[in-house]
């Protein structure tokens, strides 16, 4: 009778290779499980074990070296079907490079079974040392024996929370152990200990697989089982459209702009410069203008400068950059330091700057207004006051529009609007 899942009648592996025994036992175990071959997905990767998928009558998925556990996790999560059995064949080399994928699948308890073909070295590439090679084990690249201990992959997967983790010696009939692992709903793994017959035996004459298992202190056992539900994506509370809660901005106010106005505001992180610029933009749209706002800040968003480039325009805006602004608004020392290069290029226009700052090297063609933004409004509201003063000093659209945008925003309830209303507008 033909094998149902894996054709194992003729070995495709080197003579005496333990991988063949794994294939034979897998066939037996799957027969015990009784699934249709179309309910089984065999995921393999690069390494001698991976040449076997052509003999499989199940679905097969053959990917990159060491990535089969992640590929299988994606498959299992994509199927989310307890009736389907996702099986990973991976080697000790693949387990080294793909360690994160194995641990992650165990942590999540993804519904899959991993069979680690641990023959103690990279066989396909000529017998190099892997992360799972035991201490003292001789290889092509460590002829005097590996200098340090191996990753204990089974302990790691058990500690990571895999439901069912076992290590066994790959001799005789271990189909019952594989069957027990296949039965699990959740993450299960079986580490099968072998010695590569081509390289392992050659470099370690006279040694048995059990010698290394013993000297490495690896236990042959079923690790304590953990009864956990297999991974399932939670129902997510999602929007029917990302625009569902966004109301159109009504044009309530009139503007006086004839051409685009380019404004750079520059302050310190955590002092509301981005929000002030955003509400300014909203108010501009509410006054019939087009806007673009481009934020710039260091990667550590909570410290250092925080700059926004604003273009407000009566017509469509294409290019969103500002080479030289018409107006610079600076409310902090961080903001000034970041602004210096662009500020030095300004030959005309307006600089609104906090009174505590020294606007050195500003072209005489630039009108400079120093104002106690920080003192009057506190540092957290300085940019709001500065933009409000700007709208009153250079009428482009009504300051009321900006004040209304602030009042209706998330900070509206706590914002001290009186500071804006009371502040004196500089005289021309």
């Amino acid at each position: 009778m033909e094998n149902k899942y894996l054709s194992t009648e003729v070995s495709i592996f080197c003579k005496g290779c333990g991988h063949q025994l794994i294939a034979v036992n897998t066939e037996k175990a799957l027969n015990k499980l009784g699934l249709s071959p179309k309910d089984v997905i065999l995921v393999t990767d690069i390494g001698c074990h991976g040449i076997l998928d052509k003999l499989s009558s199940t679905h097969t998925f053959h990917g990159l070296h060491g990535r089969s556990a992640a590929l299988a996790a994606g498959t299992s999560m994509g199927l989310e079907n307890p009736k389907k059995k996702v099986i990973v064949f991976i080697g000790d080399g693949g387990s080294t490079i793909g360690l994160q994928h194995l641990v992650d699948a165990a942590v999540k308890n993804v519904n899959m079974t991993v069979i680690v073909h641990n023959n103690m070295l990279y066989g396909m590439t000529g017998g190099q040392t892997s992360g799972l090679t035991p201490e003292g084990f001789k290889t092509e690249t460590n002829p005097a024996g590996k200098q340090y201990q191996n990753y204990d992959i089974s302990s790691m997967l058990s500690n990571a929370g895999g439901s069912h983790v076992r290590r066994l010696v790959g001799m005789g009939d271990f189909s019952e152990e594989l069957y027990q692992a296949f039965k699990v709903q959740g993450f299960s793994s079986v580490e099968v200990m072998e010695i590569c017959t081509s390289y392992g035996v050659k470099f370690n004459t006279g040694k048995k697989v059990t010698d290394f298992i013993e000297s490495a202190g690896m236990e042959i056992k079923l690790f304590p089982e953990k009864i956990r539900a297999p991974y399932k994506q939670n129902e997510r509370d999602i929007m029917s459209s990302l625009f569902e809660n966004i109301e159109a901005i009504n044009v309530k106010y009139k503007n006086k702009l004839k051409k685009p106005l380019k404004i750079i505001v520059s302050g310190s992180a955590g002092e509301g410069a981005q929000l002030a610029a955003e509400l300014f933009a909203e108010a501009a749209v509410g006054s019939g203008l087009k806007i673009t706002k481009k934020g710039s800040y260091p990667v550590t968003v909570g410290v250092g400068f925080s700059t926004a480039e604003l273009i407000i325009s009566p017509k469509d805006i294409l290019y969103t950059g500002i080479v030289t602004p018409d107006i610079f608004v600076i409310t902090s020392n961080d903001g000034l330091n970041h602004a210096k290069a662009k500020l030095s290029k300004m030959k005309k226009g307006l600089l609104l700057i906090d009174a505590t700052l020294n606007p050195v090297a500003v072209d005489p063609g630039v009108e400079v207004i120093q104002y106690k933004f920080r003192e009057l409004a506190t540092p957290r509201s300085a940019m709001f006051l500065a933009l409000d003063i700007l709208l009153k000093y250079v009428p482009s659209f009504p300051a009321e529009a900006f004040e209304e945008a602030i009042a209706n925003s998330k900070i509206g309830a706590k914002f001290n609007m009186e500071v804006l209303k009371r502040a004196e507008v500089p005289k021309k």
């Binding site: 097969t60 998925f61 053959h62 990159l64 994606g74 994160q100 749209v285 806007i291 800040y297």
Partner: protein, 368 residues
Amino acid sequence: MKQKKTILTDNSKLVMESLAQSGCDVFIGYPITPANLLYKYATQRFSVVQDAPDEITTLQWMSGYSATGHIPVTATSFPGFALMLESLNMAYMMELPMVAILVQRLGPSTGTATAGAQGDLALLNGMISGGHALPVFCLSNAVDCWEIPNKAAKIAAEFRTPVVILTSKEMMMSLNSFDMGKLKKLSPVERKFYESDEPFVPYKPQKNLVPEFLPLGNNKHRVRITSSTHDTKGILQHSTPEALGNTVRLNEKIVKNAKKYSFYELDEQESDTIIVSYDATAEAAREAVGMIREKGKKVSLLICKTMIPVLEEYIKILNKYKKIVIAEENLTGQFRKILFGTHGKEGVTGVNAIGRMISPDDIAKEVK
């Protein structure tokens, strides 16, 4: 005419809503600036969102989801994309539909995460080992951010291929006033799976060179998917004629079907000069063209949206001009080299910059 509905939005929101309406239901994310808004919006809109522990896992999980019938999406920037490269080659070889959004930032290496750039096109042009083409699309304005992702998802499914949406920091993160009335209604991807009772041959091409698709794990037919050189059955081969033919087909599938995804904008005048641009610099090019024409001079404009495969039309169009100015925000003119080679061509010049946006003035000056 549609009623005006002006809102403030960034383009990341348009891209993610477009993909969601297209039927992409899985997002695998690993955070990286400046792609974080895309990830955030995905968590608000996609029914399946997975937080991957790294970008290699991201692409592997996407491949698993794709093989089981989903169209997964991710968004990253160069450092993350670099880690995805081997797995993207895998997905290309396996012929798995998916969408990867690459938001460019200033390199090399970690560079400046919060500065824009257009520095990754040359990488994308050579990213598939062997020189195969993988479809890459660029977004040149807010309307593109709505329409192109929808097309990209459909192309991924129809041609069984990963596609890359190439964009950049300013395009994804700037806030704009936008009239929602400009958004066309999108139709979702219609997946067609193999239906015959005959055994499924996973890499047997149809007339259009694309093999039919059937999800892994289905109850009807066994499916084989592999990343190694393989025959039409999906069986690993060293270099049989059939297997090498399959490898050649992968490229031909993309290149020969390019007329189905030729996206560009051509605004021609009777002039011997043409400006070429793409991505965030496209808007500066449009503005430069306006400035030049306002002064009474004629100039043409080509905004490229299909970047790879490089369209034959581009060469046909450009061959008509004596002066070709290619504006892109990178050091050496990557698109210019793709079009005209390392040594260039007489009359072809570049407007390039790093660490700052290219301005309309920069482009207009080069045209003079």
